[in-house]
């Protein structure tokens, strides 16, 4: 009897004593990020599901802006996908701009989100029955830092030109390690500096709000096109060209082409780049 009592007591009180509490007096880390490297490293695609009538969504946009400022907008590629319930994304007299796209809705439906704001960082953690691919904007710094520290498996390059109302895109990819699965390539257009009303966290309507990284259209299909067949080895070069109509309502100087490749088995994004349009 006494032996069991002692075991129980020792387990309980050991659990008490061994679990300390960290008290933080100074919450900020110093900035040590090197943004001068010219060697391509693994970048991060943050798919930010948002809506112009979602009051907390500007917080997510701000989080991306802070990450871009800290790590550079070549390493942090934000993509604002206006998709979700019409309470948050629908148009009316106060919010007249329709930012939604069919591609954005397809992605939102597939990954199973029905609340805003929410996002995915390189679609890490996706499984058919899991939820780990969803993340709150507050967790994006951690997830981005971890993704950027991971090994680059394929490097990407792209050029984009608008001529005669057509958008011409040329992409190349260079495996950095042996890739034993097929690849899909996705190319899309995003646009920033769009001034249109947004519901703000204090429940007011900001008519001068500047929307960033808005998904405009997929050049490829939403789920991309076949890009490489297993196996792919360092030294190989993958290449593709795409042509699409350029929408004259988009401001070229504020737009970028986003090019990413992903593993179709698990949807994880291996690398992403965003390039300006000539």
């Amino acid at each position: 009897m006494k032996k069991y009592v002692l075991i129980a007591l020792s387990i309980i009180f050991t659990s008490l004593l061994s679990t300390s509490c960290d008290v933080i007096d100074q919450p900020f880390k110093g900035t040590t990020t090197d943004t001068t490297s010219t060697i391509q490293q693994r970048n991060v695609l943050i798919e930010d599901f948002t809506g112009h009538r979602c009051k907390n969504c500007p917080k997510a946009s701000k989080a991306i802006k802070e990450l871009e400022a800290a790590f550079g907008d070549d390493r942090i590629v934000g993509l604002a996908i206006h998709a979700g319930p019409s309470n948050f994304t629908g148009t009316n007299a106060d919010y007249p701009t329709d930012f939604t796209t069919q591609g954005g809705k397809d992605i939102q439906n597939f990954f199973g989100t029905n609340f805003l704001p929410v996002g995915m960082v390189n679609r890490e953690g996706w499984t058919p029955s899991g939820n780990s691919h969803w993340s709150n904007y507050a967790n994006w710094p951690t997830l981005s830092a971890e993704a950027m520290d991971s090994t680059l498996r394929i490097a990407l390059e792209a050029t984009a030109t608008v001529s005669g109302g057509q958008l011409y895109i040329d992409v190349e990819a260079y495996p950095q390690v042996g890739l034993l699965h097929d690849l899909k390539a996705v190319v899309l257009v995003k646009e920033s500096e769009i001034v249109s009303p947004q519901l703000m966290p204090d429940d007011t309507r900001d008519t001068s709000y500047v929307h960033k990284n808005v998904l405009r259209s997929f050049v490829t299909g939403t789920w991309g096109e076949d890009f490489g067949t297993s196996p792919m080895l360092p030294g190989d070069t993958l290449h593709a060209n795409y042509v699409a109509s350029w929408n004259s309502n988009w401001v070229k100087a504020n737009s970028k082409i986003v090019f990413y490749v992903y593993n179709p088995d698990n949807y994880h994004i291996l690398q992403v780049i965003a390039v300006s349009i000539d």
Partner: protein, 558 residues
Amino acid sequence: MKISTAIAALTLVFSGLYGQEHGGQLHGNFQLDGQWYLRDEKIDPTGEFYPDERFLGQGFANFIYTDGNFSAGMRYENYQNVMLGFPAGYRGEGITYRYGRFKQNNLDITVGNFYEQFGSGMVFRSYEERGLGYDNAMDGIRILSNPIKGVNLKGVIGRQRFYFEKSPGILRGADAEINMNEYLGRLDSVGVQWTIGASYMSKYQRGNDPFLILPENVAMGGIRSHLTKGNWMLFGEFAYKANDPSADNGYIYKDGYGAIATLTYSKQGFGLLMSAKRVDNMSFRSDRNGTTIDMLVNYLSPTTQVHTYALPALYQYATQINGEEGIQIEASYKFKRKTLLGGKYGTQISANYSVVQSINKDFVDLSNDTLRTIQGYYHDPSTFGSIPYFHDFNVKLEKKISKDYKLKLSYLNLFYNRSVLQDGLGDEAMIANPENIKKLNAHVFVYESLYKIKPKHYLRNELQLLSTKDDRGSMAMALAEYSIAPHWFFAVQDIYNYGNPDSSMRFHYPLAAVIYTVGTNRLQMSYGRQQQGIFCVGGVCRVVPPSNGVSFSLTSTF
């Protein structure tokens, strides 16, 4: 999943073999719900909520084997796909709950999944609320012990359920409760029962934020006392939480506090309840980035009345974990039979008043980055907060008119801060723009009657009226339920939103249901239209979509 499947399979095999020899018992229950959705262009003009699958179904089954001091169990869950209105995180199928438990010589050990609660739950509560899709079951080890007379100890370690996955944080905690009557003999002699308790819970979650130094170990502790003497009972609990930057509190490092006290008095025919609560920054999740109803470690019990009538239930209060203060007073009295007010069968009358508001918060200016992050705001406990969240004053009268007829009459006066409770707006925004606060003031009247038509035949009626100029406007509801014991139950109901400010939205929401019960099996079929709602917690909102369709539910126990 493979490990849990193996454990479950072993459990069943074990029950078959071991049970035959030792006479163990296997029991359980099963439920299957499904809905065939119909396209309804009135409540969903664009069809955005109309599911591609047309039919959604979900179910579960529990199997529990017991043999003396040993028990084991498992639960299988299936969502194909999850029905509208439930959290979308439930995707797929699998064994989500499995455990083994044995008791021996004052030790009660559980390995695997378990539910547990310390005190009122302010420090730790692991529980399931299936109707809400809420389940934060622990997966780990629990030890219960009664080492000394009058002393109960609990120790837990594990991770919480997060749909079909686990939370990233590890929980470690202990609780001790002492019956003071075992040590203070005089208490018995003066008719006092006194129990005191203390609880502690710590979570560990890795912190790898590039900008912030995050506390990886966060602790919460609480003390409580439960005193009874004669018809009186007094309960109080106080809890403290160390710095815990989270999505709920905007990643501030401020400490958290919570206190709750309840006083009750009861004697034949009369009951009195008074309770008070104040919480400040008491969100505690096993994932600091968790939102909505995900991975909550503690439970802050409400000090408002939970209504079961359909119309007042549309505006139900939900505890604000970032801070609130409130009181509740309830009294009930039964006038005796054969008195002026009691009549032939007696009359029960009760009144309840509850009010909840913000706590006083003086926010640090955003320009002071460090102080804003460390402190967030200053709180003066001696000053009341300025933002009303909710109040509810209601009176109810229950009377048996004859041996075949009973009635209940209710009146409710409700105030509901929609900015807080529907939109999830924070105090700082409301203080800055008080004119933008969305409110709801409503009067609700309810008549309920129960007739015994003949032996085993009962008719229950409800008439409800919610009168308001706010939100969706006034609504009226009528319900009739006819039951033929012990097998049949029929119900028809309609809610008419006749006062909607948008005249094109003045819809009827009809519902009809049939239930057949035989033994421990129950089959329900219904057709109905569901109103849309928005559910917000911690700044993240989820739409509970409108729907229309035929649904069924099958439950069985063995």
